[in-house]
């Protein structure tokens, strides 16, 4: 059974998903067993540009397997203060 996850990309990664609305994520349909890294690649974002991934508000590794309804946020290196 295919699952749906919500993907958000931020900062300089937004250029890879130009139609991605800033205030909402894009809903992506994936097969069970899909990892965070596979989702990002499928969305067209180069993995080497990715520094931080959060799934449901927690830092996640690229090999973490997705679960139906996950909220995935992807960031390049960012900082401020």
């Amino acid at each position: 059974m295919a699952m749906q996850v919500e993907l958000r990309v931020f900062a300089t990664l937004r250029k890879y998903l130009p139609d991605h609305p800033l205030d909402r994520g894009v809903v992506v349909t994936v097969e069970p067993g899909t990892t965070v890294g596979q989702l990002i690649t499928k969305a067209g974002v180069p993995l080497e540009k990715v520094k931080i991934v959060m799934v449901n508000n927690r830092h996640a590794d690229l090999d973490q397997q997705l679960v139906d309804g996950d909220r995935v946020a992807v960031f390049p290196p960012v900082a401020g203060g």
């Binding site: 931020f10 300089t12 508000n57 290196p77 960012v78 401020g80 203060g81």
Partner: protein
């Protein structure tokens, strides 16, 4: 020869003094804190004649070292009662350093009157300026630059400082003359106001010519340091593209964005006030997504945000976008920029003011989310009405006046834009910093959220004490150099970073410092500050967070802050 300017406001006399041996190797926060410890009685009233306002450029300021033009402003804080160093960008630090001025010490108190201190290469003069009393900082800065020197650096206060409000800041201007670069925290504007000093005008046509002993060696080290900054993805690309407000979305996604006066860790409209959105709007309106606060910064984290009415707020920083945004449940960037502009003009710290408005919303004085009501309330500050004075007095006072228990302060100072329950390293810093709640004092967001300088799980207790301790020591040292703290993002990730800073210092001063000496300097600064605070009556009981952080869970992680006695280990060095 470098010198110290001592300005006695009681007698209105200025003395030019030689720099004592003991102070030669100090600068920035290292120097302001040492002078305050040496000269200010810890039990003095912060607004009385015995407190002093000490202003010092950093050790590397005024040279070609990249991003080194930061200014330290110190004194005993009327907001916290502790020692205080507030750090600002702008163009004055470089000018002071090029005039050979190691520090300005403003002491005493006049019986009446408003004054301007004018500092040029060959003269220092205290000028009566009653005509400038009550002016906002933007107009004041423009008038003074017109009157004395179009390129002057102006250190000044707005009406909030003159009215001695506890959260009044000290403004500095950027190259364009915007008085928006604040030594904001801790009410040092009120200290300056208590001394009748409205502004310090600093004139120097030199920016990068402060004396350097070994020029070639310095040049090589400065170039290497610029490369380190430019090659790091954060300081080379992230900060220039979106400024500090690029944090809004990631802090929200991490569930540690204080929302509705620290009630939850997420704001569903965070994206609308984020750096991405800000850059889009700023550029569309003819502003800038990238800007520097002083010449020679290669990181360029600032922005220029034009408001619909034509006024320009430059910059809108993350902390401010948070304090007036998610903290108040406001999702309109124009409202945030307007509140920011009013604070800059009237002379208030934006973090403290946002925390205070949050407390007033908690009390029901204003509705959460009502931007127009917030603007109207903030406009009371300049008029000096009772509500305006409550707002200017900070979150702790506002909480007491209205009987609110959810008051996010440590040692009387408002907690910034990272909830301590889900970014626990920062919680340790807020609790234990010598400054009261201050995110810059030991910015554990690096390892907790941003994966810079390692990773320490933000919602757990493990490793947070050590993380905060190391960062507090390193920060104190950086604040002495005049380097912008944002260099730390690159320095923490690059083993060459710290040695290159040491190399610049050695080339400039002819010293033989090692990396260990720099760490020792950071430790010594913190020890000096702790000593002052202890003499002022502070104990470890003050090194704690407000009760509600220990009792109430923060969604979405549903964590509380658990560290108490462990906090006393931060200063084990």
């Amino acid at each position: 020869m470098s010198k110290i300017l001592r300005v006695n406001m009681t007698t209105q006399k200025v003395n030019i003094e030689e720099v004592p041996e003991k102070y030669l190797a100090l600068g920035g926060r290292g120097l302001t804190s040492q002078i305050i410890l040496d000269e200010v009685p810890a039990d003095c009233h912060p607004l009385g004649p015995n407190n002093k306002l000490v202003i010092a450029p950093g050790l590397l300021s005024g040279t070609s070292a990249p991003s080194s033009g930061r200014l330290s402003v110190g004194g005993k804080s009327p907001l916290t009662g502790t020692i205080k160093e507030a750090n600002a960008g702008g163009i004055t630090s470089q000018k002071l350093a090029n005039l050979g001025i190691k520090a300005i010490i403003v002491e005493g108190k006049p019986s009446k009157g408003t004054y301007v201190l004018r500092v040029t290469a060959d003269n220092v003069e205290l000028i009566p300026a009653d005509d400038l009393a009550g002016k906002g900082t933007y107009e004041l800065t423009a008038v003074l630059r017109e009157r004395y020197n179009k390129k002057a650096g102006v250190i000044c206060i707005g009406p909030a400082g003159e009215m001695r409000m506890l959260s009044a800041g000290v403004a500095n201007n950027d190259s364009e003359g915007n008085s928006s670069r604040y030594a904001g925290r801790g009410g040092l504007g009120a200290v300056m106001g208590s001394k009748g000093l409205k502004a310090i005008v600093v004139e120097s046509d030199k920016t990068f010519d402060a004396p350097v002993q070994d020029k070639e060696r310095f040049k090589a080290a400065a170039k290497k340091f610029a490369d380190i900054l430019l090659k790091h993805p954060v300081t080379g690309e992230g900060l220039p593209s979106y400024g500090t407000n690029v944090l809004m979305n990631i802090i929200n996604e991490a569930g540690t964005l204080p929302t509705r006066n620290f009630r939850t860790g997420r704001f569903d409209r965070a994206a609308e006030v984020s750096g991405e959105k800000l850059a889009e709007v700023a550029v569309a309106r003819g502003g800038k997504a990238t800007h520097t606060c002083h010449p020679g910064c290669v990181i360029r984290c600032s922005n220029v945000y034009p408001l619909p009415d034509g006024t320009v707020c430059a910059p809108v920083e993350y902390e401010t976008a948070w304090s007036f945004g998610p903290n108040l449940e406001i999702s309109d960037l124009d409202v945030i920029a307007k509140l920011n502009y009013i604070c800059n003009d009237v002379g208030l710290d934006t973090i403290e003011t946002g925390c205070t408005l949050g407390v007033l919303m908690e009390a029901g004085v204003l509705p959460f989310g009502d931007g127009q009501a917030a603007i109207k309330a903030l406009e009371e500050v300049g008029k000096g009405t009772p509500l305006g004075r409550i707002i200017g007095a900070g979150a702790a006072v506002a909480g007491k006046v209205y009987g609110v228990t959810r008051v996010p302060v440590v040692k009387g100072q408002g907690i910034p834009a990272y909830d301590p329950r889900a970014c626990k390293g920062n919680g340790v810093t807020y609790a234990t910093s010598t400054m009261g709640a201050d995110h810059t004092a030991g910015y554990a967001v690096t390892a907790n959220i941003l994966k810079v300088g390692g990773f320490v799980e933000p919602t757990k207790e493990d490793g947070q004490i050590e993380l905060s301790r190391n960062l507090q020591v390193a920060t104190a040292a950086i604040d002495a150099t005049g380097l912008c703290l944002f260099v730390a993002f690159a320095v923490l990730d690059n083993p060459e970073g710290l040695p290159t800073i040491v190399e610049m210092l050695n080339a400039q001063y002819g010293t033989d410092l090692t990396v260990d000496d720099v760490v020792a300097l950071g430790q010594q600064i913190l020890k000096n500050e702790r000593e002052f605070n202890t003499k002022a009556g502070f104990t470890k009981a003050d090194d704690r967070l407000p009760e509600f952080f220990y009792n109430e869970e923060l969604a979405p992680h549903n964590t509380k802050f658990e560290l108490k006695d462990e906090l006393d280990e931060v200063y084990n060095f």
